[in-house]
Subunit: 167 residues, 2 copies
């Protein structure tokens, strides 16, 4: 997306502002910086997970399964909770099953449905990854004061309410 270091200089900004008078430079920079910082943090998380032979999408499925009392869910529920399509969830579960971190069986109650279950190997993988993950998130977020943290949440909620502006 955008490297923070090379935000456009005044000369370039003028060129864009002349051609596109609706541009609000400060707000565009806020928007792009927001996306860029989030992308960088997401990539950082991926690097950490990768060192444990996991990736963000698959890791999140394990976390969602651990949330369940019986460590069990269905692909469509997981897809909805993870915010991805059911087709994507099929692929994530395929990979996890290949690595034996989850098991898949047909639901006895509804033969259309699968039941995905966290295996003991999957739980062990979480136990390997989560403590250090939590320590690093704490380290990251304590860069913010409590007030900044609260403000950030408030701002995120406001932006979330505007999520349909692009539709």
């Amino acid at each position: 997306m955008l490297e923070l270091k090379d935000l456009p200089d005044a000369h370039i900004l003028k060129k864009f502002a002349d051609r596109y008078p609706d541009a609000d430079i400060d707000r565009v920079i806020q928007f792009l910086t927001f996306l860029r910082v989030a992308t960088d943090l997401s990539n950082g998380l991926d690097r950490y997970l990768n060192a444990h032979a996991l990736l963000q999408g698959r890791w999140w499925v394990l976390v969602l399964l651990m949330r369940e009392d019986d460590a069990c869910s269905s692909p469509s529920k997981l897809a909805e909770k993870a915010g991805v399509s059911r087709a994507t969830m099929t692929g994530l579960i395929d990979g996890l099953q290949r690595d034996k971190l989850v098991s898949r069986m047909v639901s006895p109650k509804d033969r259309r449905q699968s039941l995905v279950k966290l295996t003991s190997k999957g739980q062990a993988k979480l136990d390997e990854v989560m403590p250090e993950y939590y320590r690093r998130v704490r380290q990251l977020m304590t860069a913010l004061t409590d007030e900044e943290g609260d403000m950030l949440m408030q701002v995120l909620m406001k932006l979330n309410q505007q999520a349909q502006v692009f539709d």
Copy 2:
């Protein structure tokens, strides 16, 4: 990643906190909410661009080219500015060239290098997409007060300085 609507309830949080005592719930929620809102906004931008037969990666290459005085750059410079690998940039340029939005030629000065140039069709595509893009970004970001906008940038810079916590 995480649906804002189904953040874990107290019962689940206790389960995780018991097993992983280093978890700092509030900060984890801040972190995950940040990634989720950014993902949703990025997907919104993609939906908008998609309606104009563009996608975020390709669109950004066009924007970077328009920033140049001669509408011209090389794949590796573009990759660095866009924050993607050179291999990814090759693919983005392939797609743009197929749609005749950019042209590619070998540099006469250094035969290893390519020169990528925004075509008039590419500029026309930007002129089609950018005004409405700027209006929507303005609409999105004016949900924040000026103070909130300033605070957001300050927070983003702080988080950016911590980008190496996952290494």
